[in-house]
């Protein structure tokens, strides 16, 4: 980054014709550079969304012509208890992710940022590790650990406290909580590195000045750390919100939505309707409802937090 050019720009100017051509090229160059995204975006996002909206007004099993049935899919959706359950479960996951995972990763980052901490990079590396693994591996491991009869966790509880017969994955409430634990285990370390980077960006003088002014650790946390971390927090919150709202792999692999439908997520609902029950129109309608919710929440929080804006 030391390659800053200090030469005065007093070079012989190129002839005018060449200069205008260069300027013309400079004008269309950025469009060309960003065009791959917009081509793929149109083909593989906009067009499918349009097609999805159309499909959501039809009844179609994948063969023949879709039959137009008006808003029947939507009326059915809002009376469908499974859909209600999947909405509630997804809401539960998302809220938990925001109120548990977010503060937890901030706390860990704060601990990792302690002055003179040894092994900082080692800890960061270990915490980060789960996120590089495939969800199928994670779900498998959690299946081993939380198995109701022979799982490691029950065995440990049994050894320590003398009880351990909890059916983690077959009890509706516990199964939901285990999914959240999985999300927590998978994402916390990943988010920690963002917070840690943000914390390391806080000028040391700021904390020292506050210390001189007699501000305690709690006060410093709320008046310096939190405001300065705002952009990081916003970025992470939005990412986490959008990701968790689409949660699929964790409940799909761990419990397959069960017991009953108590861990079913919206994405799983869409997948099940489309690819297991061949109700493509109905699945599309569920997708559209999800799109409206996630997109509205996402846009709302993006503008509320000012994410992605530069100053």
């Amino acid at each position: 980054m030391t390659a800053t050019d200090t030469r005065p720009a007093a070079r012989p100017a190129p002839p005018p014709a060449r200069r205008t051509r260069a300027r013309a090229r400079r004008q269309w160059a950025p469009y060309l550079f960003i065009s791959p995204f917009f081509i793929l975006f149109t083909l593989f996002m906009l067009v499918p969304i349009g097609a999805g909206i159309y499909l959501s007004f039809t009844d179609w099993a994948g063969l023949g012509t879709p039959e137009f049935i008006g808003t029947a899919n939507y009326t059915r959706l809002f009376q469908d208890e499974s859909f209600g359950a999947s909405l509630a479960n997804t809401g539960f996951y998302t809220v938990c992710a925001l109120i548990v995972v977010l503060p937890a990763s901030l706390m860990i980052a704060q601990a990792l940022n302690a002055r003179g901490l040894k092994l900082r990079d080692f800890f960061r590396l270990v915490y980060f590790m789960p996120v590089v693994l495939s969800p199928i591996i994670i779900a498998l491991i959690f299946g081993l650990i939380f198995d109701g009869e022979y799982g490691l966790f029950n065995a440990v509880l049994e050894a320590l406290f003398g009880f351990g017969g909890v059916s983690w994955l077959t009890d509706p409430l516990w199964a939901r909580i285990v999914v959240v634990v999985l999300v927590l285990w998978r994402w916390t370390g990943f988010l920690t590195i963002f917070f840690l980077a943000g914390l390391q960006n806080i000028p040391q003088e700021l904390n020292e000045a506050a210390l001189v002014d007699g501000a305690g650790p709690v006060r410093r946390f709320f008046s310096i750390t939190i405001p300065i971390l705002h952009p990081v927090t916003a970025f992470i919150a939005v990412t986490m919100l959008v990701n968790t709202a689409q949660i699929f792999e964790e409940p799909f692999l761990l419990t397959n939505g069960g017991p009953g439908e108590s861990t079913l997520s919206i994405s799983m609902f869409v997948y099940r309707a489309a690819f297991l029950r061949q109700e493509l129109g109905y699945a599309a309608a569920a997708g559209v409802v999800m799109f409206v919710i996630v997109f509205a929440l996402g846009r709302l929080s993006i503008s509320a937090f000012g994410v992605g804006r530069n100053r």
Binding site: P130, L133, I136, I137, L144, S267, A274, V294
Partner: protein, 286 residues
């Protein structure tokens, strides 16, 4: 860094209870992050009937390689691995190229509609996959684009997150003067990007590369929907098929998971510094 030197005559650094508590907490968290992996590793060497033995044993006894040999003998595991790594590598190269190019376009040019185009790009982060999965599946199938390798790679090579990240990094790392100088030297716009800008983006390129490799390598939902031919199964898909089939074959799937995790962990450990600094560069900037 050492505060003891800066404050002569001040408190000597000594081991305080708070410090011990801090290390205890961090170590406990490291154990929580690590134990499940160790448990999976150890279980993968256990006899099928010992995987759920009670009381649980950390050390496999008797230790056996049977799970691995059974998996490799009965399942086309290396074929899955080939498809997965191939798809992940091609996706990685294409993603890095398209995202750096677009990120550079957004970072260093002023053009009509820039703000709205950027907003559209950024909003696409909030489009849930579930809304496009059904119609996209139908479109891809109807248009005859359903060749697994096409469908697994092409739609995802310009992710908005990557473009956003590269834009942030380009703004910080590339001085405008450098681009002006290259322009005065008569470089074409693409040439400036390719030989002046791209080499300076190396840390962010590394991070985005790892990120997109792991994404493509680990993803399950889209392969599950689009790949029906077993010869194009990716590793997660193959393992899912094994796991979903009769009686959850924990023994085989465990062995496969451990083998599948190795490339991901190796890539991660080799490029960890770049990954951490590159990923956070974009988000941290205020």
């Amino acid at each position: 860094m050492s505060t003891a030197v800066e404050t002569p005559g001040g408190r000597r650094p000594r081991i305080r209870p708070a410090r011990i508590g801090l290390y205890a907490v961090l170590t406990a968290l490291a154990l929580i992050a690590f134990t499940p992996l160790v448990w999976a590793l150890s279980s993968s060497f256990k006899d099928r009937s010992d995987i759920f033995s009670f009381p649980p044993r950390l050390w496999p006894d008797p230790a056996t390689l049977e799970n691995y040999s059974n998996l490799l003998a009965d399942q086309p595991f290396w074929r899955w691995m080939l498809v997965s790594t191939g798809v992940a590598l091609v996706s990685m190269i294409a993603t890095v190229f398209f995202c750096s190019l677009a990120g550079y376009g957004f970072a260093k040019y002023e053009f009509r509609g820039k703000r709205i185009l950027f907003d559209i790009m950024f909003s696409s982060l909030a489009i849930p996959f579930a809304v496009i999965v059904v119609p996209l599946f139908i479109l891809v199938a109807k248009l005859g684009l359903a060749h697994p390798l096409f469908a697994l790679i092409v739609p995802w090579v310009a992710p908005a997150f990557g473009i956003f990240m590269m834009r942030q990094y380009t703004e910080q790392a590339i001085p405008d003067e450098l681009i002006h100088a290259a322009r005065i030297d008569g470089c074409s716009e693409f040439r400036i990007f390719w030989s002046v800008v791209l080499p300076l983006l190396r840390p962010a390129v590394g991070a985005l590369g790892v990120w997109s490799f792991l994404n493509a390598y680990n993803t399950l939902l889209w392969p599950l929907v689009i790949v029906s031919e077993p010869e194009y199964y990716t590793v997660p898909l193959g393992l899912q098929a094994l796991f979903g089939a009769e009686g959850r074959q924990y023994d085989l799937v465990l062995a496969g998971s451990i083998l599948a995790a190795i490339p991901a962990i190796v890539v991660f450990i080799l490029l960890r510094k770049q990954l951490v600094s590159g990923l956070t560069a974009g988000a941290v900037k205020s």
